[in-house]
Symmetry: C2
Subunit: 501 residues, 2 copies
């Protein structure tokens, strides 16, 4: 018996996924513990693995197999959806030729390296030529993909991170947010002005911070027999569903930020952990896209772990953890004050430090600017000025230099054009999904309050995680929550958390 076209495709994508996992672990290693002098030789290994998967998925016979499998009437619904996802990946892979792939890899690497030097020096001009070159190549790839997908260049780039994502939909959502957030932000600031949180006095030893992080990760459902927590300069969640690798970085003056970062990454990890095991290493068994991924980290961080229910549960553990080094008996360590710390709002310059009320403004700015640059309406050379104007308009603050302005994020300088909107799509989805979950399963909030996340994880496994990429992002959210993705539930969440009382 010969293998069907479909099963041959499954074999091929499975192999590519396994090789991709190897590349993922090497990436984790490079961020966490690789010696500094080994970067160049590591880049060659990673490039070879990338080439192996690229060639496996773009070989001429893949087109024939996709066509033959498309005529196979014996496929069930999941196999059919898997074939759809295979085709989507194949379109992205084959749209750009090997020459362009290689030129982009080189340009990304050179530009990112230049950015690492330019950012601390606040020297935008130093990185401008390499960024222009990278933008040109990204647009060339975007144009090729746009033709293959029959969408705009921006949407083709967005589609790489958020399959099926379209700027027409994002415009509606972001205009809605941009309409109510400035007033809401001012109301929250007025509301909080009279009641600032009490500071927590450190220092907070790194090993204690780690112990607390591990303990709370386990509360959320992280399995340390199939995962690790380590340190890296830029926190991330890597690895595979069977070997999840979370990183953080510790600040001995403030444990609250690293701790919440760990719980954020745990949200990413739990999504990966609960992906459909029967479809491991198949496209349909993968996470749906970056918006849904971010929704799962933000659901854990913003919806679950910054709630008063969770902080009531966690406060005694925090006091106990740091009692040896600090006086944790005072009012600053009560759950009420810890909740105030974890829901503090401020107009700030740096996206990654922003609270959930002002965060969307940072993203909307970047989304508007990258669309303008890709659409030819804004020259890259004029980015610093446009950034300052946009910050003033959206947030009412302006950066004193480009380090705190348009040089702060790595994305554009590493070729990730079209990525930014997924952060705020994720925030909206997180609010909407958590709201649906807590309405459908009444024990979720009481569970969180007693440190039992199984009701929440069970609901997410059924309605989000276990569905993998079976549905589109839009259908997934609509089926799980009963409504298309919108900004209303997010708005209601902000008003309830930040303006009530």
């Amino acid at each position: 018996m010969t293998a069907t076209a479909y099963s041959q495709l499954e074999d091929r994508f499975r192999r590519a996924s396994l090789v991709g996992d190897a590349a993922g672990f090497l990436g984790w290693d490079a961020q966490v513990l690789m010696p500094e002098g080994s970067a160049q030789s590591r880049a060659e290994i990673s490039a070879a693995l990338q080439l192996v998967t690229h060639e496996a998925l773009t070989a001429p016979e893949v087109a024939d197999l996709l066509e033959a499998a498309g005529e196979d009437s014996s496929l069930d619904a999941w196999q059919t959806a898997n074939l759809r996802e295979m085709r989507r990946r194949w379109v992205h892979k084959t749209a750009v030729d090997a020459r362009l792939v290689e030129a982009m890899a080189r340009a990304e690497s050179a530009c990112e390296m230049a950015w690492r030097a330019a950012r601390p020096a606040s020297d935008f001009k130093a990185v401008l030529p390499l960024t222009e070159e990278l933008l040109r190549l990204s647009m060339e790839a975007g144009e090729a993909k746009a033709a293959a997908l029959d969408v705009s260049v921006y949407d083709a780039l967005l589609d790489q991170f958020e399959p099926g994502g379209r700027s027409a939909d994002i415009d509606l959502l972001f205009d809605d947010l941009a309409g109510f957030l400035p007033d809401l932000t001012q109301q929250v600031l007025d509301h909080q002005a009279s009641n600032p949180p009490l500071p927590l006095d450190g220092p907070f030893a790194v090993d204690r911070q780690r112990d607390l992080g591990v303990r709370l990760m386990e509360v959320l459902g992280f399995d340390f027999t199939r995962g690790r927590l380590d340190v890296s300069l830029h926190p991330f969640c890597g690895g595979t569903p069977d070997d999840l690798r979370i990183t953080t970085r510790y600040d001995t003056d403030d444990f609250t930020s690293a701790l919440m970062g760990v719980l954020h990454e745990t949200g990413h990890a739990l999504y990966e952990k609960q992906l459909p095991e029967d479809w491991r290493h198949q496209p349909i068994g993968s996470a749906r896209g970056m918006a849904v991924h971010e929704s799962q980290s933000l659901l854990m961080e913003m919806q679950a772990c910054r709630s008063s229910e969770f902080l009531d549960f966690a406060a005694p553990l925090m006091r106990e953890t740091f009692a040896a080094g600090s006086d944790t008996s005072g009012p600053a360590w009560r759950a009420e004050n810890l909740t105030r710390i974890y829901t503090r709002v401020a107009r700030s310059l740096i996206r990654v430090d922003a609270d959930e009320v002002t965060y969307p403004a940072h993203v909307i700015l970047r989304y508007r600017l990258e669309r303008a640059m890709i659409g030819g309406d804004l020259r890259l050379a004029d980015l610093p000025g446009a950034w300052r104007e946009g910050m003033d308009e959206l947030l009412g603050v302006t950066p004193p230099d480009d380090r705190l302005g348009c040089l702060q994020d790595i994305h554009w300088y590493s070729g990730a054009w079209g990525y930014f909107p997924t952060y705020t799509l994720g925030a909206l989805a997180a609010a909407q999904i958590f709201d649906a979950a807590t309405r459908a399963e009444p024990d979720i909030l009481p569970g969180i309050a007693r440190g039992d996340f199984t009701p929440l994880l069970g609901w997410l496994a059924t309605h989000i995680h276990g569905r993998g990429s079976f549905l589109s992002t839009g259908d997934l959210i609509e089926e799980a929550t009963g409504a298309p993705l919108g900004a209303e539930v997010f708005r209601a969440h902000l008003e309830r958390r930040y303006l009530a009382k």
Copy 2:
């Protein structure tokens, strides 16, 4: 211009080498830090990488390319030698079909797992059926390779680890050793009986041991911007020439064993580091074989670092390192006593703990037994008895159980039949190479005495490391030392170190 057959082969072997490096880092990760529950999913990733390289090197067009390149008269000496090494690897890869490769991988994994349980229980019978199956499959592979290489089955297995190694040569060397070592051992024991070393009183904190290891690794020439020192259950040297990963394990009651283990692995690492950089990722740019590799670790450990020159240099560093936790001012911490500790000889049961005088007997026993089993002269079921008899004959001690006998080493239970002789070939080569080096370069021993290994490393770079796999093992040793590999220099070294004074 189309690429020549030879350059196409270079591309193909380069890619296979890079993918193999990825597999190597995953292997390091699995030994050092992978969560226990991730072993199964990691095995799938490793198998996929192995399949990628196997297919790349056994594709039908490789045979055509090898033939065409063989007729290319424009190749220089190194390219010609590289082609020879490519062909050698291709013969090994293509001799066994995919079915057998997969069956062996499964049998190795199952047998090794059973051995891990059987060893502490001293239960040879429990692992016997799986070992018989693995031996049968290994012999099937050996027979296929024997036909392709036109050698005996044992030599075909040996050739996997020691290219060009032949048992007829080993028999001569090992018979020589077996002839003089029993008497020599007794003489050394008599000589040392009246002068036992003073014990060093611990405990020795792990972080201090690590500091000392790092300091001495740097003295030997290890570059920590391109390498690391970590902890694993079984010490090894992994990674690549640009990112060398050494591991050890610490015993707080005794620092001397882990420290010398670290210097042993450093010898392996320095060989890799100094391989010819222009031939990175080509067969000829790789280490020559396991005998030469072991010669380089033993050259550093046994010849250089157990010498009184090195221990005179290292003794003050040892005293300084452990002064905070121990009284290091007494006679036990003098270089003379440390040298006595590091040159202590004893008849013992465990190979990995053996001194350099008795070590060859352990290896000769295993060599004779595996040849007998592969030749059909010894049934695997009769191994425990044959082991006890052999130990009595060669070393004058017999194990009380199989845990301390034929179950002590992983090799046979993981499919590494034909590996053992390389340890003692390496010991002979280490003595012969170090002797030649110190005669040719008079500053080597004074350098070691002042903690400067550059004279030694320079000589090794020129005569051993930098030659990669350009020459056969035999020619490499003969060109470097002026004589074929023999036991005489090793014997003279033992007599000088252990019987003089």
